[in-house]
Amino acid sequence: MWRRTLSVLALLVLWQIVSLFMKPTILPSPIAVFAQLGQNLTQPETYSQLGVTMFRVVVGMIAGVAVGMIIGLTMGLTKIGEDLLDTWVLVLFTIPALVYGILCILWFGLNDTAAIVAIAVGSAPPIAINIWQGTKAIDRDLIHMGKAFRFGKATVLLKIVVPQLIPYILAALRYGLGIAWKIVTIVELIGLSSGVGYMLSYWFGNFSMIQVLAWTLLFTITLLIIEFAILKPLENRLTRWRPAAQIQRGAA
């Protein structure tokens, strides 16, 4: 843990040093940015803007994860599914997130639905690809064991296949979350009048470097909180059977 703290501190020090040589309108010092952030946090509006963005991300991600997992499992576990879907998933994966944003705004108008659908459509392909790859690494011998003991299809899927996919599902969640944040900011930036992306565009319009950085920082900190308060503990819980995971925890 202290190594992580150290690397964050080092970055802040570097930022502080560089800012000494720059005009505050180009690069304000970290202290000023944090002060601005602190001040923003005393205003209820900040929370409502962040909340709106979070709402879009969470709903869009839930839809994206559900669709992505179903597609990924279908591709991984059935030959027909793989043949029918793999080209499309790869095509959808290569389309830039910006395109989904624009299309959804044109189709659904300037509202939450546009953002949510864009996130769902943008995050589903990478999640599907991750799960699909994960199914390639499944230990067939264990499925064989399940069949030998006459486990039903559902038991084989839920108790033997899905647990082996958990590392891939977690990786997909992280990746999907990253994509979801990018899409939501883009959609908010180009079309909506609320959310973190809108605030960034607003302060950009006002040439306020310090506010742009303060909002970016808020965004980053939120992501870190999600990682360390939700994803990491979840991962540790789900992979505690691995000796390596235990050694790490013992050493920390």
Partner: protein
């Protein structure tokens, strides 16, 4: 003549695996074995001759190329698996790494729909039997290879099968634990009267345990030797009769390998 059908009958069983760009690999060639109910049959044979494949076919996990397997009066295939309760101890432990030892043993029992008390009771009994009572809450990767093998043995026994297919269940154990487990194994067999097919590379083990001994040849596998072991249980590992038998089977085994070697040289 009226023939009463044996519990497990293997008739003209032939199995080949297709190979890309080559003739298929001929694994089992015309195997004929009839096993009576309540037998403890040891299967001995060179590595790679098809013993694990044979157990898979009996369990309906793989199909014969030709010939048939009938279990308790019904033909077995991957589509028509027998309703006889079959327990399996694989050559590798095949445990679910993310489940504790306890939950690995419990899973097949849950699948069978047993009540929870019964499951808890059986898990405790069979883990104690294999000497792993203290390790119920460990995860498989925290155990040694031999301990994992014993968990797998407990899992196979805990369903209290009518037919147990055990593929070298003691191979990763030290001689001392193996001895103790063999004794327990025979005791369970004698008490329950269930049928056991037991693959091993250890002739002494086969002679000590089984009521009948089957030696099969290298690929394509056929019966080389099929003889009853009539020494009554409980047996002592140091029994002279058993020792004699071990010696003669070992000699037969050597002769078989020698024959194979000669045949290979002739065809060259």
């Amino acid at each position: 003549m009226i023939m009463t059908e044996s519990y497990l009958s293997i008739d003209h069983l032939h199995k080949e695996f297709p190979r890309r760009g080559d003739r298929p690999l001929n694994v089992l060639g015309d195997l004929d074995v009839h096993v009576e109910e309540g037998a403890l049959l040891s299967i001995l044979g060179p590595s790679g001759c098809g013993k694990s494949t044979l157990l898979n076919i009996i369990n309906g996990l793989d199909d014969a190329t030709t010939g048939e397997v009938r279990l308790a009066g019904r033909k077995v295939s991957t589509r028509t698996r027998s309703d006889v309760k079959i327990g399996v101890v694989f050559q590798q432990p095949r445990l679910l790494a993310w489940r504790t030892v306890r939950n690995n043993v419990a899973l097949p029992l849950q699948e069978m729909g047993l009540p929870k008390d019964e499951i808890d009771d059986r898990v405790r009994r069979y883990l104690a039997l294999v000497g792993l009572a203290e390790f119920a809450d460990y995860y498989p990767l925290q155990l040694s290879g031999g301990m994992q093998q014993r968990v797998s043995l407990a899992r196979g026994l805990a369903i209290e099968p009518d037919l147990l297919l055990a593929d070298e269940p003691f191979s990763a154990l030290d001689e001392f634990s193996a001895r103790r487990l063999r004794q327990e194994f025979v005791r369970i067999w004698a008490e329950t009267g269930k049928t056991i097919l037991f693959v091993t590379h250890n002739i002494r083990e086969a002679v000590f345990l089984s009521s009948r001994l089957l030696v099969i040849t290298d690929r394509p596998a056929r019966t080389y030797l099929d003889l009853p072991v009539t020494v009554p249980h409980p047996r002592k590992p140091e029994d002279d009769l058993l020792f004699e038998l071990e010696k003669s089977v070992t000699e037969d085994f050597m002769r078989m390998e020698e024959q194979v070697r000669l045949e290979k040289e002739m065809t060259r």
